[in-house]
């Protein structure tokens, strides 16, 4: 593995150079700049050092707190539902004797092909007050009044959750499918011969193999949901009925480009997201490691 050092590592750095340079300018510098900016107060381009003023403002800002609550609510509700559904479908699809497997798989995966804006358009039109979804629900007598999807705080949130789940379940399902197919069939055969019942097989063989994948998808889904922007800006551009679908990213966008820009404060809010991502990822890693030990 170790080759003639000196020479090859110089080449190595030359290969890595373009990427690292670009990242230094367009990721590292901005992230540090954001940190600096979060300490600045002022409107537009008039900055002045404000110390912890922005952080204080966070605690007083009801809209921010609403956005934070919304984002966390979405996270806590949507991600587990989606992962569970994806898991369920992956397990269902993993049966080789199932007919039409490829067709089901393609169909369930198809939503992933859409752009975030495109599918937001679809959902916004389908869930209109007199829209096709409400008609369908009424026809099946599930409800007797159309649901105010876009004008009610609770239902707006629900709509967003439904949309995200529609879009990303297939994506996560593919990961689970791959992990399931990586399990040697001979392990199951040995278990069958030993007389181990199917639910125990699932618990002792299937689940442990899935833990790394579940962790991966949960972390990526968490990061994605915490940064949610495209859908909410398209379906509920102003933050939804009484700001019920205002996410942190949307709020930052509004702070920066809609109202009289408060770049410093916007940077502070964005660091809240960074912190949340770091904390939650860390927690998830620790939880996965603990479960792997016994």
């Amino acid at each position: 593995m170790a080759q003639a050092p000196g020479k090859t590592t110089l080449t190595g750095w030359l290969f890595k150079g373009p990427a690292l340079t670009l990242l230094a300018f367009f990721m590292v510098y901005p992230i540090l700049s954001s940190l600096w900016m979060s300490l600045q107060v002022g409107k537009g381009m008039n900055f002045s050092f404000g110390g912890f003023a922005n952080m204080w403002r966070l605690t007083q800002d009801a809209v921010f707190q609403q956005a934070l609550l919304n984002t966390l609510t979405l996270l806590v509700v949507q991600v587990p539902i989606m992962i569970s559904l994806a898991l369920l479908m992956a397990v269902a699809l993993n049966d080789p004797s199932l007919k039409g497997r490829a067709l089901f798989r393609t169909a369930i995966f198809l939503p992933c092909v859409t752009s975030l804006v495109a599918y937001s358009v679809l959902f916004k039109s389908m869930f209109a007050f007199d829209g096709v979804v409400n008609r369908f629900l009424e026809a099946l007598h599930i409800v007797d009044q159309p649901i105010p999807w876009l004008s009610d705080a609770f239902w707006a949130k629900t709509l967003i959750i439904l949309a995200i789940t529609w879009r990303w379940t297939g994506y996560n399902m593919i990961f689970f499918l791959a992990a399931l197919q990586n399990i040697e069939p001979s392990i199951y055969e040995a278990a069958r011969i030993d007389g181990i019942p199917r639910w125990a097989q699932f618990q002792k063989i299937t689940l442990p193999a899935l833990i790394p994948v579940v962790l991966f998808t949960t972390v990526t889904s968490t990061i994605g949901t915490l940064q949610l922007f495209d859908e909410v800006n398209t379906i509920t551009p102003l933050g939804g009925p009484s700001n019920s679908t205002l996410t942190l990213s949307l709020y930052i966008y509004q702070l920066s480009f809609k109202f009289m820009p408060s770049f410093g404060y916007a940077a502070t809010v964005s660091y809240v997201i960074v912190l949340l991502v770091m904390i939650l990822s860390f927690i998830q890693f620790v939880v996965a490691r603990e479960r792997r030990r016994p």
Binding site: A2, Q3, A4, P5
Partner: protein, 360 residues
């Protein structure tokens, strides 16, 4: 064709030394085999000769020129890898001509050299195929062809037959031996298979844990091992090692008793003065050296017999000593549980001291 010299070569990865002071002379046109167990350093040594690994300390000379800092492609070597390492996206013809392309050789010259090599290895009809369309043996020949095209001073082979099935391996062994003769090439060949080593080599280099245990011709190394490692590694089935104790020491030799075998006494003629009465020694007896007329006798009970058809391996013991393996062509009638007398000429016994060194 050039010769090759290694002088006090050492290699370390950080704090770990994997090659410890190796010196070796390889004559032009010699077929030298590095053999030893996994991890002994034989592949590392080969890669150092190729220039794929750095030589930490010491000198490498090929054809009289010091090659330590020379680029692999300029050392006059060509290498055949264990997994053939054929470029999967190129045809056989392109694979063989690849190096010449980058050496700036004229196109028609490349065609000529590739065709020559293809002819030598009878690759004619495979020339336009891709590696994935070839069988293991065919890929192996292409890999050799690729090496031949470059007209190197030294050929390097890194366990080239390991990935082939048993029958193909035997066939390729013969082809390699023939090639060596017809090309009159200097070859350095690495393998863990002592049968390959014995059959192909002009000179065997037995390695163990980064050092050379012994260098010699195959029969030399077989008949006259320098230490227990070489004695145990070369020869199949493995040599029998029996524990012994020195009973008597004289000017002409020593007498050794074998505690496990009703104190059979063996006298060894030796000029060594390093042994004393009571020293623990090891006696080596090769399974193939047992016969029907030897003076050293062992009365044994057969535990297990393996019949190979042409000969049988008898595993027998007396309950208190180690199991003795006897290779015999007269074993067909024997069954497990029967009594068996193993006899061997005293002259065939090998004596090793406590540290495993051969006592001569």
């Amino acid at each position: 064709m050039s010769g090759l010299k290694l002088r006090n070569v050492r290699k370390s990865y950080g704090a770990v030394e994997v090659i410890k002071d190796v010196s070796l002379d390889i004559e032009p046109k010699e077929f030298v085999v590095f053999v030893g167990p996994s991890g002994c350093g034989k592949s590392t040594l080969l890669r150092m000769i190729a220039g794929l690994e750095e030589i930490t300390v010491g000198d490498l000379e090929i054809g009289g020129t010091r090659m330590n800092d020379v680029d692999p492609s300029k050392r006059g070597i060509a290498m055949v890898f264990q997994s053939y390492a054929l470029y999967p996206h190129l045809t056989v013809r392109e694979n063989m001509g690849f190096a010449l392309r980058f050496a700036g050789v004229a196109k028609d010259q490349i065609v000529k050299q590739v065709d020559d090599a293809a002819h030598t290895l009878a690759l004619g009809e495979l020339m336009d195929r891709l590696p994935r369309q070839l069988s293991g043996g065919q890929r192996q020949r292409v890999a050799i062809g690729r090496a031949i095209v470059r007209k190197p001073e030294v050929f390097l082979f890194d366990e080239p037959l390991s990935n082939l099935d048993a029958e193909l391996r035997v066939h390729m062994r013969i082809e390699l031996a023939r090639l060596h003769k017809s090309l009159a090439a200097t070859v350095v060949y690495v393998t863990h298979d002592q049968v390959e080593a014995m059959t192909l080599a002009d000179k065997i280099v037995v390695m163990n844990r980064g050092v050379i245990s012994q260098v010699g011709s195959p029969l030399d190394v077989y008949d006259n091992p320098d230490n227990v490692f070489v004695a145990g590694f070369i020869g199949s089935p493995k040599i029998n090692f029996l524990k012994g104790v020195v009973e008597r020491v004289s000017k002409t030799g020593v007498t050794v008793t074998l505690p496990g075998y009703s104190d059979a006494k063996i006298s060894f003629a030796t000029k060594s003065v390093l042994l004393a009465v009571g020293d623990a020694v090891t006696v080596g007896l090769r399974p193939q050296h047992f016969n029907t007329s030897g003076t050293l006798k062992f009365k044994l009970n057969v535990e297990l017999i393996e019949h190979l058809g042409g000969e049988s391996f008898v595993y027998a013991g007396n309950g208190s000593g180690d199991l003795i393996t006897v290779a015999t062509q007269l074993g067909r009638g024997l069954k497990a549980g029967e009594k068996f007398e193993a006899r061997i000429d005293l002259a065939k016994a090998l004596l090793f001291d406590q540290a495993g060194q051969r006592v001569r």
